[in-house]
Symmetry: C2
Subunit: 146 residues, 2 copies
């Protein structure tokens, strides 16, 4: 990331944090940088390990705190896989997730242009957000299983 891009990201993050009542701190900046740096849906622990490289004194509790602040500020989302720890993802565009049942990797799947499919809800229900999870075989694992 260039210096200019970096500054832009920081400004965006700072604005999002403060409008949700959070402060912009070096730890939050760094944790967000970790998410942006490798978009492979890391767990909190993986984020912790990566964050330690450039910030060795950071604690697990802070990583959880930062991830929570990022999610609540709307710059990251949390994706829950059937089994195991929650994973984090800085892609805020509407998208769904593909979980490979073999290698357990998570992939972003962009939704078609017409947006998310509409599911009719019974009277009285008010939907705020959707999550679509698709399970199956990813290209790599599908090939080797042929």
């Amino acid at each position: 990331m260039s210096r200019v891009e970096h500054k832009k990201v920081d400004e965006h993050l700072s604005k999002r944090l403060s409008t949700s009542g959070f402060r912009f701190t070096p730890q939050r900046e760094h944790v967000y940088g970790v998410l942006l740096g490798q978009r492979d849906h890391p767990t909190a622990e993986e984020v912790f390990i990566r964050a330690k490289h450039r910030m060795p004194e950071i604690s697990m509790a802070t990583v959880y705190n930062c991830l929570d602040a990022l999610v609540r500020s709307g710059v990251a989302r949390q994706v829950t896989v059937d089994r195991g720890a929650k994973r984090f993802c800085p892609n805020m565009r509407e998208h769904s997730h593909f979980y490979c049942d073999t290698c357990e990797k998570v992939f972003d799947i962009e939704l078609p242009d017409e947006g998310p499919p509409v599911i009719p809800l019974p009277k009285g229900f008010q939907a705020a957000r959707f999550e679509i999870a698709i399970h199956g075989l990813c290209p790599g694992c599908g090939k080797s299983k042929k």
Copy 2:
């Protein structure tokens, strides 16, 4: 449930278990009965508490074992909510789940007749199953918040 219905359910369960390589045991029968008896998406612990009423010696490990066997045999499914324990559901028809962000209850939402919406996958991905989660306010909580 009448005696005849009960027998039918047992036969169905027994067949499903054995085709997946599991035995039909009193504990599994009972845990399945608990799921059918109150379709409110209980957690493993809630199932444990309910199961104890008629089978006080059953252990938590057995409840987990039974739920796992039921899920693997295709007579129940596991639904994962953002936070907290997994929940179990004996409704095997294609349906999605609505999570109320306020009262945290889970509701089954039937899919439209045309089936689940189609999401185009990039080349190489093979989908096995979908899960659609909808978050928002349920009728009860939506009313009180007006």
